[in-house]
Amino acid sequence: MGIIRALSKKVNIRETFALQNQQYSEKLLLADSVPAATEKLGKVSVSTLGNFLCQFITGHYQSLALVNTSHTIDDGVSHLRGQLIDGTGNRKLFNDYIPLDLFLSPGRTKSASAENNLTAYSTYADRADAANSLFYPVEFEYLFAVNTDILFAVKNDSDVALTYEICFHGIRIFDRSTSR
């Protein structure tokens, strides 16, 4: 719908290029693996290109668990919780560690690792249903300054290492001193 409306108007090429030279759509990816039963600080650099205005976040993560000390199964339980921090001044953007399943979409993803080959383990656990495929980017509007780091402190309560990926959707805004 949006693109139809955008194309229904006459585009001023000169102005659009001039604007594009100062800002454009950008995505930053934060991907990390958190060892079992530990906390780890993941980060992605905004880089020296310019400021980054985040608008939405999306992400997915694994939900593996250890059963009977030797088998791993994807039981659909969320084991990760995290706190988002702006590297500039270590400003915390969450008041606490928030379970990832509360705000990340599409959320749980089935692990493709070789360990995840159980459909059930005796009477202890069954493998979870397929992950949710609905997709809803959650609004998160924040201006990250040039050259800062986006930090994400994640705690893993599972007995196995879990990976996650978060995508920050936004606009790259060149620093005025570099765009002139």
Partner: protein, 221 residues
């Protein structure tokens, strides 16, 4: 070039709230894509998201009310955009050897602390105002037993078992809480289980400095 920033058609954003924009004041051109509008960095940097997480514990004593209060920092107003709520279910014994996963009814009511002004007429079921909402999960106590997925008991985290289901939709609340006030949210339920039930609540909102608000400039909101 102080063009409004970052909006979808017909929608006000936190930044525009801080500017005192009205929906009717949106420019009629180039409001489709944020990339067609020049971002005003000075305005954008004044808004800071701050998500507030609370985990409430409901013990099985019949009618239960749990309240949490979050104080708003002086000098800022808080714009509550969304709620994300999850609460765990439990396994109900139907007959010997037969159980089913069921859910307690949770009702939510939002107040301003200062004047206890309700933001809604009556408590509303959490499924109707928040996502992901209740999900299928069981809680039989820490480390008691693993039951069939997708509701195996997570023995490691607060004895709470959370089957992952991400948010699938959001209804914007857009509640303003003034500086120095507090957000008071009451959850009530009637527990039908023998086990403790947990409710996770995330307030998705923004801190906006008072000096950025339009009322400092005499504008009418």
């Amino acid at each position: 070039m102080n063009a409004p920033i970052i909006r979808r058609p017909g929608q006000l954003t936190p930044t525009m709230y801080s500017q005192g924009k009205k929906r009717t004041q949106l420019p009629q051109v180039q409001q489709n894509s944020p990339c067609f509008d020049r971002v005003d960095v000075k305005t954008a940097k004044a808004v800071q998201p701050f998500w507030i997480f609370h985990r409430l514990r409901f013990t099985p004593t019949g009618n239960v009310k749990q309240i949490f209060i979050e104080k708003i920092n002086p000098g800022f107003v808080y714009l509550l955009r969304n709620l994300f709520i999850k609460c765990n279910g439990f396994y109900r014994f139907i007959s010997e050897g037969t159980i089913e996963l069921t859910q307690n009814p949770f009702y939510c009511e939002i107040f301003s602390c200062g004047n206890l002004k309700k933001r809604q007429c009556q408590p509303i079921t959490v499924q109707l105002i928040a996502t992901p909402g209740p999900y299928g999960l069981g809680n039989l106590g820490k480390g008691v037993v693993y039951l069939s997925a997708p509701s195996a008991v997570d023995a490691n985290i607060f004895s709470v078992n959370a089957t992952s289901q991400g948010p699938t939709c959001v209804k914007k609340l857009n509640y303003f809480f003034v500086s120095g006030d507090g957000i008071r949210i009451e959850f009530t339920t009637t527990l039908n289980s023998y086990w403790t039930v947990y409710l996770d609540c995330v307030l998705d909102g923004y801190y906006i400095p008072e000096k950025e608000l339009a009322y400092w400039e005499g504008a009418q909101l």
